[in-house]
Symmetry: C2
């Protein structure tokens, strides 16, 4: 049986970025990617909001995102790879208490010369037709909604087409001689003794053992290194061999509303924030309902990342819930943006976040010839290039990864055992 | 419907200790314990090796265990509650490399006046009929087994009857007016809005919500505080509401071998280590096969805590595996203790560890009126009294718990958010 140098499980944006960077740095290595679906990026990658921002309080989050976005920009502007990347910016609407909590964090970021811009509520009200004052609205008060006090605009932020990124990595990986097998479902990791004795029942617990490949619906694939980049599906495979990755799946839903009427069209194509001439990706005050513009389609994507009591639950085909929009997102949305009154989504989709419950940062570690790459916790697309480079550095046994733009990254900082990350204070 | 002040899920040693200490400090509170089984301590508590040691490198492990064991001793010697507690000691057999790794840790412990005693290999060989030198034994070399270089004896350590501890807490809890309902299976946690509006579909995500009780096969039980002490079963309930507790279940097996022949009887009743006149709880060199004497029954309990690739897996009725003894434990055991040659277990059992994958220490935290107590990772019985006192302090909203013997313990040290524990270096 052929033994691959590396088999990568998962052809989502993380798996393909990892595969590409491994192959690029090891042109003679036999590298295989498998995915249970029939094309690249059809799992959670396809269900993402596909937005990015390069403003985080955690230096690690910042560099992962900033260097990845720089790489994507480079692809689009210098190499002519159309990723549909648009710097529409992020507009974070904040209540008075939220702003007070955030002010010191923003000050720190300003000291690190990270760029953002403050907006007054009145300006935003005028520019966006935003209701900033909810006093006297009994419903809003009952719902605990707060007035908009300020807005923070993040210019190095925007939207991109996840599928285009995935296709880029896939094409380049194949061009370099990588193999991809679609429709291959991984049922288990294969564990074998490092020095087999040829006795039935191996490995026994007194033997050193390692992950030597994968068991799939199409047979066993052996590899020197097995790379798991299967997002929300990883914990299941890892639980089977007793390895903890601190990742749990959680459903996330996106509802698409067309900008049909003139008020909504005017909102979607709000000028003054960016060169695109559209509303930025907008975050409402707590609870943080999200509005992602899709200007080329004349559409808004609406979402909310609910925490408690949303279950950690693995589903092969998670479904959006009508009531989640109707009694959840919509109710909050119209209080701030009355333009959405009576608007219903014409389509919706749901995917799984692969949440790292330790600290929300990715995990990249190796144990017994198994490399685990994941836990991007909802910011996988904006960080995928850096994550792939770090995973490739781990594969190569290097202490530091070189990210796009030349920044060095200590590989063990995202490991489990020598993990070194600061908590993110700018959580959306 | 009655609302309890506290409902405790799980009548194992942790749940009952917690219930007892809560009730003892809140005599007027209505406190209910539920368990799916039909009596106390029938889950993982009953499947434990029921051994204890008061020598740990982590100060938290040390104080949890030391104060609990002091309490149990006090019960037995001063209050006449027979817990079948015997200070047989722990004997830790170490290879040369293992000893070298451990020497600095032991030095630190000695500086903290923790008591242990070093034994030379030759002494142990004579005293126990132990094979300390495996040179020339091809099988042993193939198995990677190492010579015994030294032994470390821990005198404040021994065995106890978990069932007797459980029965003590149960009886006292009932005597104080606590209620226990057996045969009640918790299917889910109940989540409700803190300020319900009376609308179908509550709680919506824009409402504050809390755990308001449990849904069981016998109906809903409401409580001001819900205390989850269900060991390996907790993550399932917590996943349903999206709360992470960092606990995973792992099967542990114990095999009972009778000391039938004179050689084994002599080994079991080895003199010189303790006043009981029996072999200490003994840990072989890596892989660390465990031997727990059961002198009153004329029996040895044998076990091994396998890590990789033993699955994290929740099973209602985990079963011991014949081959785990035959090709695992037995093979290692006879190399060091030839007295066991051809001995087969006359009975065996298996239970679930509730492993805290963060750091192996318990987790005790509150979130939304839900108190989570668990993750004792295989040392629950020896720490149960302290854990119960800390959980009761959390229930009472106190910053510090008073452990038996008067030691103060900062409750938040075992929380998730303000966790403060040192890694344990003396892992068995």
């Amino acid at each position: 049986m052929t033994e691959y140098d590396a088999v990568i499980v998962g052809a989502g944006v993380i798996g393909l970025s990892t595969a590409y960077h491994i192959k690029r740095q090891n042109l003679n290595a036999k590298v295989l990617v498998v995915d249970k679906l029939n094309a690249a990026g059809q799992g959670s990658t396809a269900k993402s909001m596909s937005a990015f921002r390069c403003l985080f309080s955690s230096p690690i989050n910042y560099v992962l995102s900033d260097s990845s976005v720089d790489f994507y920009s480079h692809l689009q502007t210098e190499l002519g790879v159309d990723l549909k990347l648009l710097f529409v910016g992020y507009l974070w609407l904040l209540g008075e208490n939220e702003f007070a909590e955030m002010a010191p964090i923003l000050k720190d970021l300003a000291a690190r010369s990270l760029k953002y811009q403050e907006y007054e509520a009145e300006e935003l009200a005028k520019q966006l037709g935003l209701t900033t004052c909810l006093h006297g609205d009994e419903e809003a008060e009952l719902m605990g909604l707060k007035d908009v006090y300020k807005g923070i605009f993040i210019p190095k932020a925007g939207i991109v087409d996840a599928d285009c990124i995935v296709k880029f990595y896939e094409k380049e990986f194949l061009r370099l001689g990588g193999e991809i097998h679609y429709g291959v479902k991984v049922e288990d990791l294969v564990v074998e003794a490092c020095q087999p004795l040829g006795i039935t029942g191996e490995p026994f617990f007194w033997q050193e053992s390692r992950v030597s490949g994968i068991k799939t619906n199409c047979g066993i694939v052996r590899a020197k290194k097995t790379v798991l980049a299967a997002g929300a599906w990883m914990p299941q495979l890892l639980d089977n061999v007793g390895i903890e990755c601190f990742i749990k799946p959680k459903k996330r839903q996106v509802f698409a509303v067309e900008a049909k009427n003139p008020l909504l069209r005017r909102l979607l194509f709000t000028r003054g924030f960016n060169s695109v001439g559209c509303i930025p990706f907008t975050i409402l005050p707590k609870p943080r309902v999200l509005i992602r513009p899709f200007p080329t389609e004349g559409v808004f994507w609406l979402s909310y990342a609910d925490d408690f009591p949303r279950a950690f639950k693995l589903e092969d085909d998670p479904q959006p819930e009508k009531n989640f929009y109707q009694y959840g997102i919509y109710q909050v949305l119209v209080k701030y943006f009355p333009q959405f009154r009576d608007c219903r989504p014409y389509s919706a989709f749901a995917g799984l976040y692969e949440i790292n419950t330790l600290d929300g940062h990715p995990v990249i570690f190796e144990e017994r010839d198994l490399i685990v790459v994941g836990g991007a916790s909802g910011s996988g697309i904006m960080k995928a290039d850096a994550i792939g480079r770090i995973a490739a550095a781990l594969y190569n046994g290097e202490e530091y990864a070189l990210l796009y733009g030349g920044r060095k990254f200590k590989v063990s900082d995202l490991s489990i055992k020598e993990r070194h990350v600061e908590p993110e204070k700018l959580q959306i």
